[in-house]
């Protein structure tokens, strides 16, 4: 397979993630959009690692991205739980005040 095919898959995942972040009103749904965006970036890293002179560095950076995505999910989930405890909903449109 060529590099462009991998980049195309990464682009589709990235766009889906961005639209998911923009249109979902559920806070957990926004988080899932973030995960999709990070996965699109990961596909690009791995594809460049195979098909260009980047070598092994692309795979190393995709591992860093995976670990940081886990950290981000943990913190965002804690924030979502706090938000749910304050507002009794997970709708991000209700988050108009910083201190509930």
């Amino acid at each position: 397979m060529s590099l462009d095919a991998y980049l195309l898959v990464g682009a589709v995942l990235f766009v889906c993630g961005v639209i998911c972040m923009a249109t979902k009103r559920n806070g957990i749904g926004v988080l899932m959009g973030v995960e999709l965006v990070l996965n699109g970036a990961n596909i690009n890293f791995v594809a460049f690692s195979k098909y260009t002179q980047l070598g092994l560095d692309g795979q190393i950076f995709s591992l860093f991205v995976i670990v940081l995505a886990a950290a981000e999910a943990a913190v965002a989930l804690a924030i979502a739980l706090n938000f749910y405890n304050n507002h009794l909903t997970i709708d991000v449109d209700r988050a108009s005040k910083l201190k509930g």
Partner: protein, 202 residues
């Protein structure tokens, strides 16, 4: 064993078929994540999409990254997200619907954005790969475990052997920083999620 089968299939003509199957699955499941209304179904489609992405990693000779994707992402992060769904939804099929105008606007912006990205991808002439030049020690068989582990320990035998006289830095310091960062973040998240529940409990 199955990794070796996948890698050998990637270089065979059947690897193209496998790539198309998994690429199509990843893209369609990502679209289904956007189109799904309830958050549980979104989580299900996201599991399928990330699993197909892991298969794509296996096909691209990145076996350790694919395994880490399956273990950490699908097995860890998504379970965490599903727990978040359980803890925040009042019912299993909680539906917070988006208005139709926003859906139309979002899909139009999505198509335009996808067009821009694809146009910019196809317009670039990417540099040619180094054909198995630095790959004396690394990814020829898709066995990336040993070079990845060595580079996380701070040495890059693939680059050193290729260039001969220079020592290239590894990734020991970023690895340590990421480890401590993950520890701090997890402790902070546990504290953040605990404190409020105690406050509402009293």
């Amino acid at each position: 064993m199955s990794n070796a089968l996948l890698i050998s299939a990637a270089s065979a003509p059947g690897g193209n078929l496998l790539f198309f199957v998994f690429a199509l699955a990843a893209c369609l499941c990502a679209v289904a994540v956007v189109a799904a209304q309830t958050v549980v179904r979104m989580a299900f489609w996201l599991v399928l999409s990330l699993g197909s992405t892991a298969a794509l990693f296996f096909l691209a000779d990145a076996d350790f990254v694919g395994a880490a994707q399956l273990l950490i992402y699908v097995g860890g992060t998504l379970v965490l997200l599903v727990f978040g769904v359980m803890l925040t939804a009042s019912g299993p099929y909680l539906k917070i619907s988006t208005s139709p105008g926003e859906i139309v606007l979002g899909s139009a912006v999505a198509l335009l954005f996808l067009f821009v990205v694809i146009a910019s991808i196809s317009g670039v002439n990417w540099p040619a790969p180094a054909v198995a030049d630095a790959g004396d020690l690394q990814t020829t068989a898709g066995n990336t475990l040993r070079p990845l582990g060595l580079s996380f320990l701070g040495t890059r035998p693939d680059l050193d052997l290729a260039d001969g006289d220079q020592l290239s830095p590894g990734y020991l310091l970023p690895f340590e920083i990421v480890s401590v960062h993950l520890l701090v973040v997890l402790i902070g998240a546990a504290y953040l999620a605990r404190a409020k529940r105690r406050a509402t409990g009293t």
